[in-house]
Amino acid sequence: THVDTDTALAWVRAIAESVAAHADQLTRLDAAIGDADHGINMRRGFTAVVAALDAARWSTVGEVLTKTGTTLVSTVGGASGPLYGSAFRAAGKALASPEVSPEELLAGLTAGLEAVQRLGTAEPGDKTIVDAYRPALDAFEAALRDGADLAGAARAAADGAEAGMRDTTPMVARKGRASYLGPRSQGHQDPGATSTALIFRALAEVADR
């Protein structure tokens, strides 16, 4: 079970649907410790991504992910636009073939996380995207090591992302807008970690098909 271009397309489309369905939730979370736009930003971005992907034909996984990243950069704005945009672009750059193995996918996603951290300089525990992204990759890797296939590894990654997302609730934010609240940011789940969990859950669902 490899990831081909169609899987990549299906994944990004599934993210778009999930983000649209959860837009209000993301925005509400952002209202509590940010500026109440994360859901709106993500929906605007992924709506544009779907339109861009629909408008052409794609021959590699990397092309799909790169186009996704470029479009996110051009349409999302805010902190999440450059961060997610760079993540997808970095992953796309690493996956320049029509079909990639689960191990290759992991490498691509890891390049994405590195891009997020290079740009945003967030460490685990800072209450950001990183806090869902990192445990997702750890779980993905561990599952592959334990012999899981793509579907199993993606499921583990989604579970890991969701656990990481939940773990952001007690954290004091140290990056992004929520850091301005200091201790008042505690007790709220991070919106970016939440959208990251949606992204990995979408991968698990598509891998399961």
């Binding site: 209202a31 109440a36 740009l119 140290r174 008042r184």
Partner: protein
């Protein structure tokens, strides 16, 4: 919450069309607001930008003596690199371009990406981070950029208009930022067009201290108090970080929903506070300059002037939001 809009998704576009219809000296193209006359050869170009909903910031500060272009994002959302790249290229008159960036992760990242992409143009970025409500430490994204943005854009804009080189314009812009501090207090939340509901709940009894300009909650709540007490709270926060001395430029800024009458009441208290410290309000602004949609409340921004900064502040400016001398 009722809004004078046609469609929450089109509000930025519609408002920009209104802006340029009201100000024929401005033009809008692909979500960038320019001086209609275009770049002046040899003059350093000034580009700023940020989320919409803070009007007149930034598009209302495009014009002679201030910005050459502004990149308005969606409501409370940083602009995207494409806008910034286009603006930068369009306003470059051969002397390079200054990016005036408010210190928010989103603004910083998008301007950084744009600066990388616009590699043909010489670009210097100046970060505005005047908000003393936020500690500038390893444990935050650093102080936010708020009211001082107006001072930086006005003073750097005047210097650029005089023909100063990019390095000098950037140096003075940084200096204005370094000499400026702000603190804001909200009486109510704002309501974004997209959500239609207040971003946060604030009971009648309380105010939000150190509120952000995007409806971000502040560091703490305090009981509602008199204009005198609230002005003193804000000024103490400023004074604690930037001792008030000599000639000051002082802005009492409304957040969009506060009557001008009340801003003048606050200004009277701020001016008395400044006098009490033995400093002098040499220049001032009272009104809506960096707003948060319909939020009620005020922020105060103080800049310690010197002769050069005073001269540049007094220089002619002709924009929708600030105008004098022409």
């Amino acid at each position: 919450m009722k809004k004078l809009i046609n469609d929450p998704g089109a509000v930025v576009e519609d408002a920009l069309n209104g802006l340029v219809a009201a100000h024929p000296s401005l033009a809008v193209r692909d979500r960038v607001v320019y001086r209609a006359a275009g770049p002046r050869p040899g003059k350093v170009g000034l580009v700023s930008g940020g989320g919409s909903g803070h009007e007149p910031l930034h598009a209302g500060f495009v014009g002679h003596g201030m910005l050459d272009a502004a990149c308005p994002g969606e409501v409370f959302t940083s602009p995207v690199p494409d806008q910034i790249v286009a603006a930068t290229a369009a306003v470059d008159g051969g002397a390079g371009v200054l990016h005036v960036v408010k210190n928010y992760t989103g603004d910083v990242l998008n301007f950084e990406m744009a600066a990388e992409l616009a590699e043909d143009v010489e670009i210097v970025s100046v970060l505005v981070n005047d908000d003393v409500a936020v500690q500038d430490s390893l444990y935050t994204a650093g102080r936010r950029g708020t009211g001082a943005t107006v001072f930086v854009e006005k003073i750097a804009g005047a210097l650029a208009e005089e023909g100063a080189p990019l390095a000098e314009v950037a140096r003075v812009a940084s200096e204005v930022n370094a000499r400026s501090r702000s603190f804001g207090i909200a009486l109510t939340s704002c309501t974004t067009p997209a959500s239609g509901k207040p971003t946060f709940e604030l009971p009648e009894s309380d105010v939000e201290l150190g509120v952000g300009i995007h409806g971000e909650p502040g560091r703490q709540r305090a009981p509602m108090a008199s204009a005198r007490e609230l002005a003193a709270l804000a000024m103490e926060a400023v004074h604690g970080d930037l001792p008030l001395e000599g000639d000051l430029l002082v802005m009492v800024n409304g957040m969009g929903g506060t009557p001008l009458m009340e801003l003048y009441v606050v200004f009277a208290e701020v001016a008395a506070y400044v006098r009490g410290k033995g400093a002098r309000v040499a220049r001032s602004l009272v009104g809506n300059y960096v707003t948060s949609l319909d939020m009620q409340g005020f922020s105060v921004t103080v800049c310690r002037l010197d002769d050069t900064l005073t001269r540049l502040w007094d220089a002619p400016v002709e924009t929708p939001g600030l105008r004098w001398g022409r």
